[in-house]
């Protein structure tokens, strides 16, 4: 049975655009479930892991409701990179970081 993700990771900005000139940072959105203490703690843990593994990561954290309120994904033209569950945190983060870095390699 598929696990319900605790968060989804989105990418946006120049790092993910083909042909972009040396992006200053890697813009990421952590979309977490809600504003409960557990969900916020998960989002902060994920942000910390991303910052430790992706050079110049600039991470926005929003709950699903916050995102709906401000339609961040649409406005930033963000796209989903993947899902993260607490059960498979480390391998999923590693896979996502590899995917993020592939965009740097593809741009060169």
């Amino acid at each position: 049975m598929a696990l319900i993700p605790d968060a989804k990771l989105y990418g946006f900005g120049s790092h993910f655009q083909r042909g972009a000139q040396e992006p200053r940072d890697v813009d990421l959105l952590v979309l977490h479930r809600d504003t409960s203490a557990a969900s916020i703690a998960f989002a902060i843990k994920l942000k910390s892991a991303l910052c430790a593994n992706v050079l110049n990561a600039h991470v926005v954290m929003l709950s699903e409701r916050e995102e709906r309120d401000i339609t961040f994904i649409d406005r930033a033209l963000a796209f989903e990179l993947g899902e993260i569950t607490s059960e498979h945190f480390q391998p999923q983060v590693s896979a996502l970081c590899r995917r993020i870095l592939q965009y740097s390699a593809a741009a060169k």
């Binding site: 940072d25 813009d27 952590v30 977490h32 504003t35 916020i40 989002a43 902060i44 942000k47 910052c51 430790a52 992706v54 050079l55 110049n56 990561a57 600039h58 926005v60 954290m61 929003l62 709950s63 409701r65 916050e66 309120d69 401000i70 961040f72 930033a76």
Partner: protein, 139 residues
Amino acid sequence: MADKHDLNRVFPWPPYYGHFNFFETVMRQHRCVSNVKKVDAHTYELTLSTGGKLRVFICECYSYGVAEYAETTAALGSFDAILINSNWCGYTPDAKRICRGDKVGLFKIRDFMAALNKRDFWSYLTDAEIQSFKEKGWL
């Protein structure tokens, strides 16, 4: 200034232009502010003309949300006001509501200038926020 490899070790994200000069200038010109003291890269202490002091955190993040507020206070302690520096950045209604509940003002700089004219500055809402809060049943 932090080099590229230092950026991930900096909390919070440094300002795009490397300074908050505009904020400092408008605060020094505000009739309700008698002194502006820079404490560290993102923290200021404002002395009000009434004698009170405000501990202010200023940052540039695309969209300051509830998790960011939790992260800020966990890392840096509590503040009287949290300010979003740039015009292309903002904050979420939930973050505004929760900060307001904690008597912490969450503003863009222009709105903070208006809020400072009120005694309970942290409660100030723009007209759009009043409308939005009413629609959500928060007012």
